[in-house]
Amino acid sequence: MTTMNDTQLSDYVTFTTADQIFGLPIECVQDVFKPSRITRVPLAGPEIAGVLNLRGRIVTAIELRSRLGLAARGEGQVPMAIGIESRGESFGLLVDAVGEVLKLPDDEREPNPINLDRNLGRVAAGVYRLDGHLLVVLDIDRVLDLSLEAQAA
């Protein structure tokens, strides 16, 4: 893999959920935090983990696993949250673990493989082939658009 000097590079915040590595462009990410005291919201959809107070702001927590139609996180596994600002509102995307920030060249981003899981395909904006892993880049607008419903895997 050769990287030419004049290639545009983008920073991605990486994280894993259900053993899959994901990346979000760093400009969509406000902060990363450990969610505490999430208040469940009755009658809300399964993707809504609840609401929480992050330094005086009310954050709506969205469970990425439910969003992707995956099984719930195991007992005792504590999620991490990626803080996102979208249209004046604060969201927290609940993930299994947060990784490092990667600088990746734009021209190496490949379109979604056609056999990508449908739930994943709905919210993915391309993939990177890393050493031994695939990194799925998420389109945050599509992740937050809950009308694009996930179907049970």
């Binding site: 005291r37 208040t39 469940r40 919201v41 009755p42 009658l43 809300a44 959809g45 809504i48 609401v51 929480l52 107070n53 005086g56 009310i58 709506t60 969205i62 249209r87 509102e89 937050l144 809950l146």
Partner: protein, 854 residues
Amino acid sequence: MDDLLREFLTETNESLNLVDAELVRFEQEPNNGAILGNIFRLVHTIKGTCGFLALPRLETLTHAAETLMGKFRDGMPVTAEAVTLILSTIDRIKSILEAIETSEQEPEGGDGDLIDQLGRMARGEVAAPPRAAPLSQPAPAPVELKKPDQPEAPEKSDKQDKVGSERPDEERGDRLANHSIRVNVDTLDHLMTTVSELVLTRNQLLEIVRRQEDSDFKVPLQRLSSVTAELQEGVMKTRMQPIGNAWQKLPRVVRDLCAELGKDIELAMRGADTELDRQVLDLVKDPLTHLVRNCADHGIEAPAARIAAGKPAKGTIRLSAWHEGGHIIIEISDDGRGLDLAGIKAKIVEKGLASEAQLAAKSETEICNYIFAPGFTTAAKVTSISGRGVGMDVVRSNIEQIGGTVDLKSVSGVGATFTIKIPLTLAIVSALIVEAGGERFAIPQLAVLELVRAGNSGEHRIEHIKDAPVLRLRNKLLPLVRLKEVFRLGACDDENGFVVVTQVGSQVFGVVVDGVFHTEEIVIKPMSSKLRHIPVFSGTTILGDGSVIMIIDPNGVAQALGRAVAAAARAENSELQSREEENDEDTVSLLVFRAGSQQPKAVPLSLVTRLEEIDCRKIEISDGRHLVQYRDQLMPLLRIDAETSLKKEGAQPILVFSDQGRSMGLVADEIIDIVEERLDIEVSSDRPGLLGYAVIKGATTEIIDVGHFLPQAFADWFRRRDPSAARQARSVLLVDDSAFFRDLLAPLIKAAGYRVVAAASGADALAALKSDTRFDLIVTDIEMPEMDGFALAEAVRAMPGAAEIPIIALATMVSAETVERGRAVGFHDFVAKFDRAGLVAAIKEQGTDLNRAA
């Protein structure tokens, strides 16, 4: 836009609104020199500023108006025409101002027409009707304004504007002008938001310190807390405005309506200086205007009709406002005709909002409140004022949006009163923190009436009607909604719950929660866009301990409650009624018994022939039916439902219903009591054989429909007993506007061996008579919309071929007066609506008379 111009527009608009209100007052009190002086000054100020800002068109117009007003001030009599002319001038000024606001320059066109008229009137050319006495004391003109030729300095004009806009009263205006400044509304709003955040932070600090004993922070925090409270109050005060600001336009509105409708209406205002948050004020302005228009258009009658009804020709609309525990109450009442109940009922049915059967069980207040339903209007003709089918529903939703309620009381012929209750402010509200299914929620304190501890051990036990939980609270049935079930947080345990008695509009219901904590001042934060579709929540908030909780929207919960709430409202209203009618003799003897379930059952005692205890061994079973020999006849025994079982041994209590020598027995487990009580069926039932539920001696009681069981026992009997009657097939025309009573009575008359044709109105009945005059008897309700029973009788008497048909009247209340009037129009008999046996007897009696006559 130029700052100066903007300032001018704002101030001029304020001044114009004042002129409006002043002018109407002036018309009423032409001798009041002070009012005249105020108006003159205001118009003059506008004129002066116009000249300064180079707005020639506006200046010429105001000048002409000012000249005329000057004449009035000098003693020229003020006529209604003159006031109208000045008002239309002001309208013109307003429209010019609007154009300036959008285009920043005066619109094309001239005002020659108005200026001409103004000039002519000022010269006395229009024949103003001479007054008996000229203005007794020409008002002294303010010296500094008397010289219009004096060039005006901009500062001065500015100052005049302030005086004008603050308060018409000159002295006070001067004083206020020196002590007040103009602050941008945005600045105040921002201040309010900041204070809200401060309150939140204070709450959090308090929570932290509460958990620590002997904290050094305790004392300074207490100080901080009280200062915060003071600051909050102070900032709220800056946003407060007198409700009179929202009323300013109303005198003009009423005056214009009077002119258009040919009515004479006085608008009396009380409590105009009651203050409320400007945000709330803005939102309540339009609903208020609409309600006042409504009173003027629908409520107050035309002068002739008022005199005919024995009222003064001049109608009165009263507007009052006052504070009451964190709320402001605004009352709008008129002394008009009240709401047209029959018209509303007809409209409800027409719109399919409720069936006649449902309406029959509703109270007057409940029916009146249908006018708040979307698209509801009863105005026969669409006027420019009201009757466009938009309005009352918007009024209600506007008021409910700001956490307020609107209530309506109407007394036919006496007037209607709207009561609006709104919170003083919206940003910070007091909320009750409750727990359900392990989660905490906030219920706005405004909606909470009281808290009741529920549980099987305590005084208040949760009971069930079918599957619907209810609570008996001070002798009324309160429908309950379990928060846990609404939120799908698991099954509810009724043992150790609390009931939060909640009111939404006129609906009262109980919300069952697991626990109740405390009340807290909460700052409402908007809901996440991902959660806005959930109707039971209105927002989120951060509590003192830092956790986020959802704020419950009582409106949404009421919707979840659905039918039960309607039933509760009915229970509530019937309670009110029973309170009002306590002195009435309108009680019924009821036989209370138990059969099958533990819940007591009741029938009107008048229907029961006797109570018997029959030896079980005498009960025989034939063809699947229980029979007993009773007075040398076989009497069928019926069970109320499958749950009721006959005793195996000993004595079986039976309620015996007899008619024409035949008897039927209804099986009971136990006769409990005979009580004298008003029978208010509060929750109606769809179950056959059950009319509904009522509270009797404090217990929820099922009211049994004997009419359902009679045909079961008697169907064959009628056929066997009177074959001649069947052959003759006498036909009865049954007229009742309520489908409920038609459905109740038609089978009864049929069972007595008659052919029944039911008609829903007097007109329908006449049509039926025209097409088929072979009716032997007419049974008609007296109270019906459009054509009542009396009118129908008169019409029948005048109808060839039908004039001789006997008429039986059904009356809910029979007074000597009604009987007298009935005799005059030719009723043969009166029967109380509930007395079915009496009706059958009366029908038979009339039939015999016919036979004899034949």
